[in-house]
Amino acid sequence: MSAAVSLRKVGKTFARGEVTALQEIDLDVQPGEFISLIGPSGCGKSTLLRIVGDLIQPSSGEVVVNGKSADQARRDGDYGIVFQEAVLYDWRTVARNIALPLEMAGWDRPKRDARVKEMVELVELTGFEKRHPWELSGGMQQRVAIARALSFSPALLLMDEPFGALDEMTRERLNGELLRIWADTGCTVLFVTHSIAEAVFLSTRVVVMSPRPGRITEIIPIDLPQPRTYETREEARFFELVTQLREALHGGSEREPSLRAARAK
């Protein structure tokens, strides 16, 4: 079985080569994995996610998604994407927002309706199908965005800080729901986050990145047992991993001159 995502020496420069956003990124993601990308602002984690999605082009290196070029994978509908904001269409109801990618893919009406019903159940929004986005809370909007991203059963789910704008309680609840959806669908998840606890709780592996230039400094396997529940967050192993990840992140930023200077004092 080929890797879900395979990156070889991927680099990205902006501003005519003056700013190096990513340098020599090597990463293999196996099907069914839940991979978090974590790192300080400017480490290029969102850029990397967009390169996998063929939303921007890498300056160098090779990107293979589901055994194909990133461009071909995008055209084949191999991935769904969720952003920090839900990016729902105000003029469409919840049901029609979820149906949007299906319309693009040319599904007929009965097939669309059946799938929308399934997706609404999956994200537990039954009864809200006819509402408009502005009538929903931030957490509910994000669930609609997840349902929309998964509506055409992509093998890969790309998520760019999907819960970053939500309050802590909502975030934790949606974390649990996301794991359930991940287990139900068996999809591969590539997840960008700022939150150490979130990365540990969700992932099978956490990719630690550092900025200027953006690169991978460490990959930490998360050996917490599945399925993970509310209690998982209270286990000793959870805290050990959080500590390990935090140290990995700070170790990475030690190369920053300002921080090094501060520590020298």
Partner: protein, 269 residues
């Protein structure tokens, strides 16, 4: 609320008239008399007087004129809005055309409509089209411009992440246009439609003047202009009807907007 504003306006008009007559106010050569500022009740009353001896009431005559002008303006509006939107869509997809053509489109609006109207009448008239259609074209000429400008802005207003989303679906340009950019531009389009709706009425009235059409409000204005000294309220009454027509056009667009544009309540103006 509407009534309150009307009452205040009536009070201002009559108050100024009374004050002007009492103090023999002069502003330049302007003096307040029944000739320059007829009583409002006379203007409204004039509507219910016979337009000529034993003729129909003025309001009946003006009603027919208003309907005629409304037809010209409506056809002009639809024509102008469609063409304006189409130009906007084309320019949106080609920066080159936008840079090349936009200055001329802007320039087209700096030419006074009175200078263009006779040419349009001559051109279309020689092809055997009815005269009112030339007037509709003149109305369209005033209509298309705001629609083009706001189409350009509106199509650019789509959320960049929504565009990324469409790219992730490998959506065609056509699908991006109709499923994302056009719906996102509707608030902008309706803002333009509101301007254009009133402009199309003005365009139709002005267009009637050089095409010597007698059936519309433009003809009526020209006619009552000549009799202003003997009956000032007639012209005022005609202006009142013309304004009402413009307001009606605006209102129709505003009502359509409420049905078409679905968006968060806090965004509704």
């Amino acid at each position: 609320m509407l009534l309150a504003v009307l009452a205040v306006l009536w009070g201002l008009w009559e108050g100024f008239k009374w004050l002007g007559e009492e103090t023999a106010l002069r502003i330049g050569t302007f003096t307040v008399t029944d000739l320059t500022m007829p009583h409002l009740h006379e203007i409204v009353g004039q509507l219910f007087e016979p337009s000529r001896t034993n003729g129909p009431l003025l309001i009946e005559v003006l009603w027919d004129s208003a309907l005629f002008t409304a037809k010209e303006a409506a056809v002009g509006f639809v024509l102008g809005a469609t063409i304006g939107f189409a130009i906007g869509v084309v320019l949106h997809h080609s920066r080159l055309l936008q840079r090349g053509l936009l200055p001329y489109i802007v320039a087209s609006q700096t030419i006074p409509i009175l200078a263009i109207a006779p040419m349009v009448v001559v051109w279309t008239g020689s092809r055997g089209t009815p005269a009112w259609f030339s007037v509709a074209i003149i109305a369209a000429y005033l209509t298309f411009f705001p629609v083009t400008i706001n189409t350009l802005r509106g199509l650019d207003s789509a959320d960049p992440r929504a565009l990324e989303l469409m790219r992730s679906y490998a959506a065609s340009k056509w699908a991006v246009l109709w499923k994302l950019k056009v719906p996102a531009s509707l608030p902008y389009l309706f803002a333009a439609f509101k301007i254009s709706a009133t402009a199309s009425v003005v365009g139709a009235i002005v267009g009637e003047l050089p095409s010597s059409i007698q059936d519309g409000l433009g003809g009526a204005i020209l006619n009552f202009n000549q009799y202003y000294l003997s009956s000032p309220p007639s012209l005022w009454a005609t202006n009142l009807v013309a304004a009402t027509l413009g307001i009606s056009f605006f209102a129709i667009v505003a009502i359509a907007e409420r049905f078409v544009v679905r968006r968060a309540p806090e965004h509704v103006a």
